[in-house]
């Protein structure tokens, strides 16, 4: 079943690539978990929102800005967009059944996808990322600088987010609102706006994920679709309401899928996604809440 020869060098490279893939999934999975935790909504538009902001970055860079100049601008736009979407599109149906809200996010995904095609066209584009594509020698193994950069940025983002949630008043308010919105109102928290803040943060996470992955794959309107699926899988794997789970799940999934795809001939590259699905399914049978999720025990 194994294809090709096995060398430790290549294994290390595959591992690195897997970690890098996993870091991207983790970022998007974190966005999904944040929205799910606070609003119990699965945002099917997360990927398209990320791609959209990446296109904006591309446009800005096309007008002469450097990556790192455009970066904070795009994040600000993403944040505003996320907040706006929550307030304008989600708020009207916040009392509606979950299926309705899911369909609204699906509609949003379609809308954004179409809009991207209309504004920028469907052709593939090169996206010049901030990291060079050369490789450096890590203990005898050539590893791409870009991969290292992507992982570092993702780690940095997760750390920042963790600090935000643990230390700041707003972060506490967001956590409180997702745990107990009624009591949150009783202490004076404007829960609606806090949840919009959650969407804004999620949009920022998506924007970063998009700008990280775009140099690796080509930038086109459908860029994030497969990645979103892997991100869903990672989020479910880690437990839909656990941010730690999203990160761990993402990395685990990225590494496992990359190694399986390379070393198990049967899976190759066509069956990577179904393989991921199977793994998750098996895990869920054993741990219905995912790795770190809470299983809600209902007392009769």
């Amino acid at each position: 079943m194994l294809i090709g020869a096995f060398t430790w060098t290549e294994f290390a490279q595959q591992l690195a690539a897997g970690i890098r893939e996993g870091a991207i999934y983790a970022g998007l999975a974190l966005a999904i978990v944040i929205i799910y935790r606070s609003t119990r909504v699965i945002n099917f538009a997360q990927g398209e929102m990320a791609t959209f902001t990446t296109f904006i970055a591309w446009s800005l860079m096309n007008h002469g800005l450097s990556f790192w100049t455009a970066f904070p601008i795009v994040l600000a736009i993403a944040f505003t967009g996320g907040v706006a979407i929550e307030r304008i599109v989600i708020r009207p149906v916040e009392d509606a059944p979950v299926l309705t809200i899911v369909i609204v996010t699906l509609g949003l995904a379609l809308l954004l996808n179409g809009l991207m095609s209309v504004i920028w066209g469907g052709a593939n584009r090169q996206f010049r990322g901030p990291f060079s594509t050369r490789t450096i020698d890590v203990g005898g193994v050539p590893i791409s600088v870009q991969d290292i950069g992507i992982v570092l940025v993702s780690i940095g983002l997760v750390v920042l987010l963790a600090l935000f949630f643990r230390l700041t008043k707003l972060g506490l308010a967001l956590r409180a609102s997702s745990v107990n919105p009624d009591s949150s109102r009783l202490v004076g928290i404007r829960v609606g706006w806090i949840l919009a803040l959650g969407w804004g943060i999620a949009a920022v996470l998506g924007a970063v994920a998009g700008m990280m992955i775009a140099p690796v794959v080509f930038l086109d309107p459908n860029m994030m679709q497969t990645i979103l699926l892997y991100a869903f899988a990672a989020a479910v794997l880690g437990g839909l309401d656990s941010p730690i789970g999203a990160v761990v799940g993402g990395i685990l999934l990225g590494v496992t899928i990359t190694l399986l795809g390379r070393y198990v001939g049967f899976i190759g590259s066509t069956l990577k996604l179904p393989a991921a699905l199977m793994l998750i399914l098996v895990l869920l049978l054993v741990r219905p809440g995912g790795l770190f999720g809470r299983v809600v025990v209902r007392r009769v």
Binding site: A96, T100, G107, L111, I280, P288
Partner: protein, 340 residues
């Protein structure tokens, strides 16, 4: 009670009459369109049993349609041991195989709740198109398989499209009756009990496992039949015939039409067909608004239109046309989203 039954029988008779008589008044092409609407209707009927009656969300029923379609294709083209099977007879076989697949999915689905199940089924929908590419000797890979053109049996002298219309809606009516009987039976009551409160149902001795997997199997059977019919009408199958988005369309059709209203399901089926194939008409209507000038052929415009329509419809009709969404999903939702 009796009066209600009589009324429903009457309504059914009217529907059957309309179905039977309609082709006389419509063009051949329209008959084909209505046939395809009928196939979506069959799939939605099954999905409504799953989601509307046992409360399980599936975002992957396109996969079951694909199973049905491919079964029909393989059996009628390759046959068993070289013996080709007439496309008509493959329909029930396709349904059964899809139904078995549904049972297989239904078992692990028991351990998953609400959105976890939705995501896993979504994963199935996405993963499934990869399988024909992998096992291409059986499934024909990306080119797929080409079937013989559907011929009316017994040398009946109708056009192919009319034949498909009658075949589809004939089967649809039969399956509709079957679904009604199911809903009225003990099994149907058990499903409704499960939907309203799993805890209460279990305490009354209802086996969740049995009925929830049964619901999955039945709904998959319906989807398989629909897929089989679609393959016959299309005269070929390949991964693009049952794309990922089909599963989404099905759920959308279900949600917009309302979960168990008959008219709603037909409307939902119509909506799916309409949005898939008539984005240009919608664009034409929109172009009547001042200041908007959309070219429907431009890639991206159909998606945008579909997306906006979805959002607007759900904003206006959050409980779906049939109004049952709220009743079904209150027990499923851990709602915390209240106004502030």
């Amino acid at each position: 009670m009796k009066a209600k039954l009589v009324l429903e029988l009457f309504g059914f008779a009217v529907l059957a009459l309309i179905v039977a008589a309609l082709p006389r008044f419509i063009s051949d092409f329209r008959a084909r369109e209505l046939a395809i609407v009928g196939m979506y209707f069959i799939a939605l009927l099954g999905l409504s049993i799953l989601t509307g009656y046992s409360g399980q969300i599936s975002l992957g029923h396109g996969a079951f349609m694909a199973i049905g379609g491919y079964t029909t294709a393989i059996l009628s083209v390759d046959g068993i041991y070289g013996h080709q099977i007439r496309d008509l007879w493959t329909i029930p076989i396709a349904g059964v195989i899809a139904g078995i697949a549904g049972l297989l999915v239904g078992v692990p689905a028991l351990r998953l709740s609400g959105l976890y199940l939705a995501l896993i089924t979504f994963g199935i929908a996405v993963s499934f198109p990869q399988l024909p590419k992998k096992f291409d000797h059986l499934f024909g890979g990306t080119t797929g398989k080409i079937l013989n053109l559907a011929k009316p049996p017994f040398g009946l002298s109708t056009t192919t499209n009319n034949w498909m219309y009658y075949l589809t809606w004939g089967i649809a009516l039969v399956l509709l009756v079957a679904a009604s009987l199911l809903v009225r039976s003990g099994a149907g009551r058990a499903l409704k009990a499960i939907r309203d409160s799993e805890v209460a149902a279990t305490s009354s001795g209802i086996s969740l496992a049995r009925y929830k997997t049964m619901a999955f199997g039945i709904s998959a059977f319906y989807a398989g039949v629909a897929g089989s019919l679609y393959a016959i009408a299309n005269a070929y199958v390949n991964p693009d015939v049952f794309p990922i988005i089909l599963s989404i369309y099905l759920v959308v059709g279900l949600a917009v039409g309302g979960l168990d209203s008959l008219i709603g399901l037909i409307a939902g089926a119509g909506l799916i067909y309409f949005l898939q194939n008539h984005a240009d008409t919608v664009a034409g209507w929109i172009n009547h608004l001042p200041a908007l000038n959309l070219d429907p052929k431009q890639p991206g415009i159909p998606s945008m239109i579909f997306g906006v329509v979805l959002i607007v419809v759900m904003l206006l009709l959050p409980t779906g046309a049939g109004g049952l969404l709220r009743r079904v999903f209150r027990p499923l939702t851990g709602r915390i989203y209240t106004r502030s």
